[in-house]
């Protein structure tokens, strides 16, 4: 790493667990406030002020939870794979820790997307589960998360676990577009999609603005929980470093 001079300075700083721990600590309150404000405001807006859908009625309001969680579940996988790749190539410990922290968050968001999708399906399609292309893809994404987490917990050595998971996450990342395409294609083959959950021809502004607020709120929430997990992971992995000992004993 020492001889690749073209890397910017912040990249090296980011590579320092201590710096990362401190900067996360400074950013956390801001992100927490932003996440709470956006999520609470967005939810109120979505539940009270947004108009009901002319076709689906009030069950449409589930979209404000379903879509953000689905987007985040996918972004989270992307971040996990990219962080894993950085850890693999530049042997950057912090990147490994980011990747490890991503998996449970992404899996829980995938669960939320699946559950809200299923619940929304009941009033819309009349059954709790439909093999809709998007829901099926999300289910497979959830499986991919489970695989990553299972592999990570099965390998004892931390650095080996991080590297192996990174390879798996990258393989998954290459596969996600293929899986999405094949599932969509399979879906149209078997049941001509008459009515999709989230596809609206043109959503009026009073519907999509709260959706946007919720998506940004979810991103902020994701940042908060990721930083919290990351800080824990840094403490655990760096427990023998001098600065961690000082930090712990100073309290």
């Amino acid at each position: 790493m020492a001889d690749s001079k073209w890397m910017p300075r912040w990249f090296y700083q980011l590579a320092s667990p201590r710096w990362c721990y401190q900067i996360c600590g400074k950013l956390l309150p801001w992100f927490t406030v932003a996440a709470l404000a956006l999520l609470i405001g967005g939810t109120l807006w979505a539940l009270i002020f947004a108009p009901a859908d002319y076709q689906q009625g009030n069950s449409f309001r589930i979209i404000y939870l379903h879509v953000p969680s689905a987007i985040l579940a996918q972004s989270c996988y992307m971040l996990m794979a990219v962080a894993g790749a950085i850890g693999l190539i530049w042997k950057m410990k912090v990147a490994d820790m980011v990747a490890k922290a991503c998996a449970p968050i992404g899996a829980s968001l995938a669960v939320l997307a699946l559950l809200t999708g299923a619940i929304w399906g009941k009033p819309t399609w009349g059954s709790w589960w439909v093999w809709d292309a998007r829901l099926t893809s999300m289910l497979i994404l959830f499986f991919l998360y489970l695989g990553v987490m299972a592999l990570n917990s099965a390998i004892e050595s931390e650095s080996t676990a991080a590297q192996a998971t990174a390879v798996l996450a990258l393989v998954g990342l290459v596969n996600i577009p293929i899986i999405k395409y094949s599932v969509e294609w399979w879906n149209t083959l078997h049941q001509p999609a008459t009515f999709k959950l989230t596809e609206k021809p043109a959503m009026p502004a009073e519907m999509w603005v709260p959706l946007l607020v919720m998506v940004i709120g979810f991103y902020a929430f994701f940042a908060v929980t990721l930083m919290m997990r990351l800080r824990n992971e840094i403490l655990r992995r760096e427990r023998r470093a001098g600065w961690v000992k000082e930090l712990l004993l100073s309290k």
């Binding site: 009270i48 009030n58 939870l65 969680s69 009941k122 009033p123 929430f221 908060v224 929980t225 655990r236």
Partner: protein
Amino acid sequence: MSFNSFSEFLSMGGHGLYVWLSYGLGVIIILGNLIAPLQAGKRLRAQLTRRLIRESKGS
């Protein structure tokens, strides 16, 4: 405001069960994702501090 009364708001035009179930799950998963790392962090700090104190006494 798309509701005239609170009971109308609760019933969500007959879809109350689905909407409130979804939002309930959303709250649970979001709070879970905040509380779990918070608790884990507390446990970890306590555990590491105990170990540090034990080691400093031992040597």
